[in-house]
Symmetry: C2
Subunit: 321 residues, 2 copies
């Protein structure tokens, strides 16, 4: 899910590790503007690449057999939102690596049990993933964690890319992805039944994807009957992306189209609002829309009933009820 | 996820219930052609509407306070794929309602604990959902279960629509959706990291959605950089939808585009194959593509490495590794 607020800039817990490289110095990462969300590191472009270590270690630097590497999805954040399989995978892991906010969400019985926890603040995705892989190559069983699902704007792909760049193989570390509930569905659940039929997820973060591509995708899906989950809708440096997205949606969809906003799901400041597309642009500067927000846009069938978004699947066209 | 094969035509367990209506006679539903998948009931159109009871009970038929109604997502099917929250919700439920295959997947400690289990074979979505709601209106705490997530080609929306048609409210039954891991992500996990960036789910079932709409949606997303999860890709009566989908994808995407196929996830006959778009059309008549299959189509960046699909998010354009 879209993540965190600006308060989490604590330095990473830098710990000893059974690892060919030295422990990562993450002090440069805490300077990198915590306003961006970790999944896109959109404000971190410049400073992160300054602070990012180049890949030093490759498979040749390690002796002995590698351990396992798992990418584990935590779901929305509360412990009960994790699958039993995710919980078991974390219990088995010797080292757990992740963004500080997600590490902090882990239950004590899991963190107490691990040999080592390696956490970094925002803007550390590449170095954090490299560190996780180095630790696995060094022989540890490592779990790299994130909220939601590892295949949804998360690090499963990056882990495989970095493994390859280090001369490793996925098979050698028995690489496995342990899925979790993505933000589209955990936020959708809080809104009622807004998704239901063909649906699309689009991220408004243009750190890694050009804005023209994002706009093209928005046009394509807004003109069709997709329900749309918008990830990373806003940050201080991306206000215009949010406004542009609203404009594009309004070119194709009725201003009365229901829109659900879920801010800070699973956090103390969680807030949910159901509004409409015509109202959405003005909410960009309200607290409810920030980097912890997921927005769900209905299709032309979606309506609001008893405080919930409902997207019919089409049963009403075929059945009597 | 896309569901089941043709072998599950056992009659529903029809049981006594604390309910204003009589127990549902489901014998007509077991005639309705089990080849279709439950989430779309595509072969069930005619016989199901013949066999479907009209909504008899409304809120006025019940006395006393309603119980709770939860729509619970089970994830891919194995017990450890369920979230802790889903497990707790089922443990709390007095009545559990669902398609027979999913009920059979529930661990014994959950089913033994429930006061009543109501299951129906395929083609019973509407009557099954009505039954679940009647039982909640009658005062029972009811959980209606499905694989994956209740907001993904599942029954969360239908439950709200039927509640409204019965004159009830979501608030009165404290309606709640308990999310689960959708098939796109649980199958994606089995393929490696195929999704990663903006992604879309499209169902090829045209029972409730006109095929021309499905084709229009496929064109729209195939021409953009979305990774695509295809649900309900095939059934005996929908072979041409699969072929049409392949044609549309090939109009826009390279024949070498990686495609992952996951058949029967979590079942004994689970099978995974990574192939390409050019090969996909000929697989429609192979066992690996049926109604239990989810297909994941890569975008132009996706590649196959060490037996896994990898879709880069774009880090390689900004970082050295």
């Amino acid at each position: 899910m879209s993540t965190d607020d600006t308060t989490d800039t604590a330095a990473a817990s830098s710990t000893e590790s059974k690892c060919g490289t030295s422990s990562t110095d993450t002090s440069s990462e805490s300077d990198c503007g915590a306003a961006s969300d970790s999944s896109s590191a959109s404000n971190c472009g410049a400073s992160a690449s300054d602070g990012e270590k180049e890949v030093g270690a490759t498979v040749e630097d390690f002796e002995g057999d590698p351990g396992r590497l798992l990418a584990v999805g935590l779901g929305p954040g509360e412990p009960e939102g994790m699958t039993a399989r995710a919980k078991a995978a974390l219990a088995d892991a010797e080292h757990i690596v992740g963004y500080t906010t997600y590490i902090d969400l882990l239950p004590d019985d899991i963190t107490d049990d691990a040999d080592d926890i390696y956490s970094t603040p925002m803007c550390g995705e590449v170095s954090r993933t490299e560190e996780a892989i180095d630790r696995a190559l060094a022989g540890n069983d490592v779990a790299i964690v994130g909220s939601g699902d590892p295949n949804v704007y998360a690090l499963a792909g990056l882990a495989l890319e970095i493994l390859e760049s280090k001369g490793g193989t996925a098979s050698a570390v028995d690489f496995e992805v342990v899925p979790g509930v993505p933000a589209a569905q955990s936020c959708g659940a809080r809104l009622g039944a807004p998704l239901v039929n063909d649906t699309v997820s689009v991220s408004l973060s243009d750190h890694l994807t050009p804005m023209e591509d994002i706009e093209s995708r928005l046009h394509a899906v807004a003109g069709e009957g997709f329900t749309i989950a918008i990830y990373n809708p806003w940050s201080r440096k991306r206000r215009e992306n949010f406004q542009r997205c609203c404009e594009i949606l309004l070119e194709h969809r009725d201003p009365e189209t229901p829109v659900g906003i879920v801010h800070g799901a699973s956090r103390e400041d969680e807030a949910t609002r159901i509004t409409d597309l015509g109202t959405l642009p003005e909410l960009g500067e309200e607290d409810i829309v920030d980097m912890t927000t997921t927005i769900v846009v209905g299709n032309e069938e979606t309506y609001v009933w008893d405080g919930r978004m409902v997207t019919p699947r089409g049963y009403e066209t075929k059945y009597d009820y």
